[in-house]
């Protein structure tokens, strides 16, 4: 079985983000980029699936040359092949999904893992859109995954609990934290990845239905207020929470 995992290259969540001079993109200077954290769960599940059922794994990423770093990490973790869909221009989620779907089809992958969302733009739809474009089944926000023949059973995280769902291959699964414990790239894995080639392809041009008009930074936090340091401050604290903050 061919297993694909789609990975995005995103600013480290610890990074301080500034808006670029065009006002509609992130200024990448001084920002460390990493594998999208949810995609690490997707990579791990792809590797575990291969270890159990055999087959071949491929990591796919859409973006510029910088995305090779993320693909290289997927290879170092143990993914067999990597494809870079090279396009660093703006794409909305549907346009990203179209490019990925085309490549997944070309790869003949029946089982596809995504992270449940990419922590850069947080649209949380690319996995589902890709499934629809491919005509695959889709389970999102999975915290467990079991494949038995053609049948897939997953637990999904829902508000206040879990839901157990079943579907069949071919399918797209989007990974939530808790699905597994992603492995570290071992030194041997890193050496092996050095010898693997990242295949570059040019995806079909984008047609966007959503445009970014402007980016804004969140309003800076107001300084905190200390109203006292012992129990005598409690009545005033309650008054402020009720009247000013209006949270109780």
């Amino acid at each position: 079985m061919k297993i694909a995992v789609c990975v995005s290259h995103v600013p480290d969540t610890a990074a301080k983000i500034n808006i670029g001079s065009d006002g509609i993109s992130i200024d990448p200077s001084g920002v460390t980029y990493v594998v999208n954290p949810y995609d690490e769960f997707a990579i791990e599940e792809a590797l575990k699936s291969k270890e159990k059922f055999g087959g071949e794994t491929v990591a796919i990423s859409l973006g510029g040359d910088a995305n090779k770093e993320t693909l290289r990490k997927a290879l170092a973790m143990g993914i067999d092949n990597a494809v870079l869909l090279k396009d660093s221009g703006y794409r909305d989620s549907l346009s990203v999904s179209k490019a990925l779907a085309e490549e997944i089809k070309a790869q003949g992958a029946e089982l596809v893992f995504f992270g449940k969302q990419s922590v850069d733009f947080d649209n949380s739809v690319v996995g589902q859109l890709t499934a629809e474009l491919l005509g695959y089944n889709c389970i999102s926000v999975a915290v467990s995954f079991v494949l038995d023949g053609n049948k897939i059973i997953c637990e999904r995280e829902i508000e206040g609990g879990k839901e157990v769902v079943e579907t069949n291959l071919p399918a797209v699964i989007t990974a939530q934290k808790g699905l597994n414990e992603p492995r570290y790239a071992s030194l041997k894995g890193i050496m092996a990845a050095k010898k693997k080639e990242i295949i570059e392809k040019i995806p079909a041009a984008a047609t966007n239905y959503v445009e970014v008009l402007t980016m804004k930074k969140p309003a800076s936090k107001q300084a905190g207020k200390i109203i006292g340091t012992d129990a005598s401050a409690v009545p005033e604290l309650i008054r402020l929470l009720r009247e000013e903050a209006k949270v109780i």
């Binding site: 770093e69 170092a76 071992s186 041997k188 890193i190 050496m191």
Partner: protein
């Protein structure tokens, strides 16, 4: 606590290859997830975190420059250095464990061992299934190991060993000890397995430093080992000194990790601790301290990288390794103490990593050749006069 994102004022990273950066990042993640959350407790209780050994093996951190056919990663020395640096940001004890296993056990078996010894031991040591230790220092012979009393006697089918070693990292938990002793007056290496009759390895307690690392005595009373357990290629004191040279290289890198941990902790603290209406980071004297620490880190980073590049080209001199070990350990200990001052009273608590690093560095400055011994080694090199015999 803020996520640690490295200390790199001069963009030294731009001088690293992609795979070297990946190695550093992978070990950094491991240290954040697996070492830092548990280390203070282990340190306080004087316990080595044994459960990490197999994980370190899985990551490929033992014997990383050795050939793949023994299950090793076969990486360059700069990668080895980066691994040491990242591990020591966690704790010098964990770094010491990996240093000993890699440079003082796998390296001598690889360099002086028979094919049979290499095939048997190296893969098991690489995976962490087996643990090794290195016995050179004796109660009465530290800086001058050449005077060692431990000796071997040729007997039918093998050797009989008598003597004692002290200060041996991993001794009590080791499956195999690489032991240096005199055979007919010449220093030779022997592999002595745990459980061999007459061999005991009691743990030394009461350390105020490297408390998350096991330190032991090794005692040999008429220990018989078979002929096949001598390291055939070992010849004279030069052999253990070659091992020390490998380990010292790793230490020079390692201590930069503790410097980074102390700097990071002190910088964050200085920015948030308010005295006299301002963060203490806003006062000139605190700034001077932080600038001094950062400058020493930066200098040590350049020394290490150039040392590693020379080593990878096979051009490094042991006196250069001595200089790196000497300088970096001294500066690491000095800057750890400065960092502790920045935290005031909080600096002595184990809520922060500084005091632990500072205590660890007392050992690190002493083992693998004291500061003074490295001074004498370099002194002899540049003047032509040996100030020791």
């Amino acid at each position: 606590m803020n996520k640690f994102t490295g200390v790199d004022y001069f963009n030294v990273e731009s001088l690293l290859a992609e795979d070297e950066i990946m190695v550093r990042n992978s070990v950094r993640e491991f240290v954040d997830d697996r070492i830092i959350p548990i280390i203070e407790k282990h340190y306080r209780e004087e316990k080595f975190p044994h459960h990490l050994v197999k994980e370190l093996g899985k990551l490929g951190l033992f014997g990383i420059t050795l050939p793949q056919k023994y299950g090793c990663a076969e990486m360059n020395n700069v990668s080895y250095g980066l691994v040491m640096q990242e591990l020591e940001r966690g704790d010098s004890g964990i770094r010491s464990f990996v240093s000993v296993q890699t440079s003082l056990v796998m390296y001598p078996i690889f360099t002086f061992g028979s094919e049979e010894q290499k095939d048997y031991w190296l893969p098991q040591l690489a995976s962490g299934e087996k643990i090794g230790c290195f016995g050179l220092t004796e109660p009465d012979f530290g800086s001058n190991p050449g005077g060692m009393i431990t000796h071997a006697e040729k007997v039918n089918g093998g050797y009989k060993i008598n003597g004692a070693k002290m200060w041996i990292t991993n001794g009590t938990i080791a499956d195999v000890a690489v032991v240096w002793g005199k055979l007919d007056g010449e220093v030779r290496g022997f592999l002595i397995e745990k459980g061999t009759k007459g061999f005991t390895a009691p743990e030394m307690k009461g350390k105020h430093s490297l408390k998350a690392s096991v330190t032991s005595e090794l005692i040999f009373q008429d220990v018989f080992i078979p002929e096949k357990n001598i390291l055939p290629g070992s010849k004279g004191l030069k052999s253990p000194l070659m091992c020390l040279n490998q380990a010292r290289y790793g230490i020079a890198w390692g201590v930069v990790g503790s410097m980074m941990a102390c700097y990071d902790s002190a910088l964050n603290y200085a920015k948030s601790r308010i005295q006299f209406s301002k963060p203490i980071a806003a006062y000139q004297m605190t700034q001077e301290k932080l600038v001094y620490i950062l400058t020493e880190i930066t200098k040590a980073q350049f020394i290490n990288l150039q040392l590693g590049r020379l080593k990878d080209k096979g051009e490094v001199k042991h006196t250069q390794v001595s200089m790196a070990k000497r300088n970096n350990c001294e500066k690491a200990l000095e800057t750890a103490r400065i960092a502790r001052e920045i935290l005031g009273a909080n600096g002595i608590l184990d809520e922060y990593p500084i005091m632990r690093h500072s205590q660890n560095l007392e050992s690190v400055k002493t083992y693998e050749g004291t500061h003074e011994m490295h001074t004498l080694i370099i002194g002899e090199d540049i003047t032509g006069y040996a100030a020791f015999d």
